[in-house]
């Protein structure tokens, strides 16, 4: 079975500071990796995905993530955050072949302070 661990339940940062949200996963077979963002009372919006190729992937709103196979990590980064980035962020994996379901981490609440 697959599992996803988001190492920080809450991350407070000041506006315009850099941020890193950590994600580690466990799987005995190959997976694709995703980061989603959830604003209050809304569904999940795809930030970025890693399917293959370059391990550094760029997404929307200035976010990027780096896939590290040896450390089974997929950390999300942004060099300078804005108040509007305040939201819940979820890391997720899906089997490349097999069950068509996303397995999510517990989420990280990003709070931006002015």
């Amino acid at each position: 079975a697959q599992s996803v661990t988001q190492l920080d339940s809450q991350v407070p940062v000041f506006e315009e500071a850099p941020v890193e949200l950590r994600c580690n996963y466990s799987s005995s077979v190959s997976v694709y990796l995703f980061w989603y963002v959830q604003y209050p009372n809304q569904g999940l919006q795809l930030l970025l995905k890693y399917l293959s190729g370059s391990t550094l992937v760029k997404g929307i709103n200035g976010f990027e993530a780096e896939f590290n196979k040896s450390q089974t990590s997929f950390h999300l980064r942004k060099p300078s955050v804005h108040i509007s980035d305040t939201a819940e962020y979820f890391c997720a994996v899906i089997l490349i072949q097999g069950a068509q379901k996303l397995v999510f981490g517990q989420g990280t609440r990003l709070t931006i302070n002015p």
């Binding site: 995703f34 069950a99 996303l102």
Partner: protein
């Protein structure tokens, strides 16, 4: 439509009542998924359809939960004899094809509260 539409947005029911939650996927999307998101948690998979066929229902927590997609478009998640532990946000997602590299597009969810 432009996105995945779920209704109602909020549902309050008394314990023991039956509820039905509706999902309208993006037009033309073959795959449809239901997830349950408890307060402060990540979404958890419930069930998956490819067109009208329910290919995976391994996440349904009990036989009180039932989902259908009879014409391969709109889907309904039904919960019978609701219990307090059923209180959660129920998210629907759709994707263009039945392959893992296709992103899943989520609706805004139905927040179910069982009194």
């Amino acid at each position: 439509g432009a996105g995945v539409s779920q209704s109602p947005r909020y549902k309050v029911a008394k314990r023991g009542q039956d509820v039905a939650l509706r999902c309208d996927p993006i037009s033309g999307h073959v795959s449809l998924f239901w997830y349950q998101q408890a307060l402060g948690q990540g979404p958890e998979f419930l069930t998956y359809f490819q067109n009208e066929a329910q290919l995976d229902k391994s996440g349904l927590p009990s036989d009180r939960f039932f989902a259908e997609r009879p014409e391969g478009s709109v889907s309904t998640l039904k919960i019978q004899r609701t219990q307090q532990e059923d209180s959660a946000v129920y998210l629907c997602a759709s994707s263009l094809q039945g392959s893992s590299n296709q992103p899943q597009h989520f609706g805004d969810g139905t927040r179910l509260s069982i009194l």
